[in-house]
């Protein structure tokens, strides 16, 4: 039964090496790259982090992807979703990879470049029908509150004249969205750490 044992060892080596190849190696590589990134300004980072949390908590990735496909493979660039495909090192700054697997809504990898208007995002989040009639995105009215005094600078008026303002969560979420510029500039070499 020597042949069978050898075969068996082969099968198990494949399982173990699958883990090494798909899990361990990429993890070590990207950990090393991430460690080399220069630190970002702390005030921005905190707000963007909070916004990422809001994105995560409300499951935005179930409808929105954040990855631009290669030009020969899909037509993402022609849709205006990015100038080039995204590569893995484009995601080094994201604490959580939110690549997504559905395009019930448009890809958001570069939404900060494509749509940098905070007020558009506030209105869209409040009620997607206001900016995109026929959209199936749910309204996120719970991220907004009625304006108590006249002071809020990013409050906006609805059709019926009432004024709403974004909550801190909404502001963070929009800050996060505006930071999404994954395929800006030349792609860093995938297997070299970016220059400091």
């Amino acid at each position: 039964m020597h042949k069978a044992s050898v075969l068996f060892i082969g099968f198990l080596a494949t399982f173990a090496t699958a883990w090494i190849g798909l899990v361990l190696m990429p993890a070590r590589h990207y950990n090393a790259q991430a460690a080399q990134l220069p630190a970002a300004s702390s005030a921005d980072e905190a707000l963007i982090d909070r916004g990422r949390q809001v994105y995560r908590a409300n499951g935005c990735l179930y409808c929105h992807s954040q990855q631009v496909s290669p030009r020969h493979f899909r037509r993402d660039q022609e849709r205006g979703w990015g100038e080039r495909r995204t590569v893995s090192s484009d995601y080094l700054r994201d604490k959580i990879a939110l690549l997504g697997t559905m395009r019930t809504g448009p890809d958001l990898a570069n939404i900060g470049l494509r749509n940098p208007s905070a007020s558009w995002h506030y209105i869209h989040l409040y009620d997607p029908q206001l900016t995109s009639p026929g959209s199936t995105m749910p309204p996120f009215r719970f991220l907004f509150e009625p304006v108590k005094d006249g002071a809020a600078t990013d409050a906006f008026a609805l059709l019926d004249g009432t004024r709403v303002a974004p909550t801190a969560d909404a502001r963070a979420l929009v800050a996060y969205l505006l930071s999404l510029k994954h395929s800006q500039g030349e792609p860093p070499d995938a297997f070299e750490p970016p220059a400091k």
């Binding site: 039964m1 069978a4 044992s5 068996f8 060892i9 198990l12 080596a13 399982f15 173990a16 883990w19 361990l24 993890a27 070590r28 950990n31």
Partner: protein
């Protein structure tokens, strides 16, 4: 972080090694010899081969 990787790698190695032993044991103890006899393992004297064992409620036993 390194500790996490080390623990997982150790678990995986342990799993693989024990599985190798299991397979070696199976081969030595004749699990792969009379292959077709193994197929009868689901039957027993009171639920023997040849007798179906499931029915809709209140249905007559069928001939098979």
């Amino acid at each position: 972080m390194t500790l996490a990787f080390a623990l997982i790698l150790l678990t995986l190695i342990g799993f693989t090694v024990s599985a190798v032993f299991v397979f070696g044991w199976a081969a030595r103890s004749g699990q792969f010899r009379d292959v077709n006899a193994g197929a009868k393992a689901v039957f027993s004297p009171d639920e023997p081969e040849g007798r179906p064992t499931d029915l809709f409620p209140n249905q007559q036993r069928p001939k098979l």
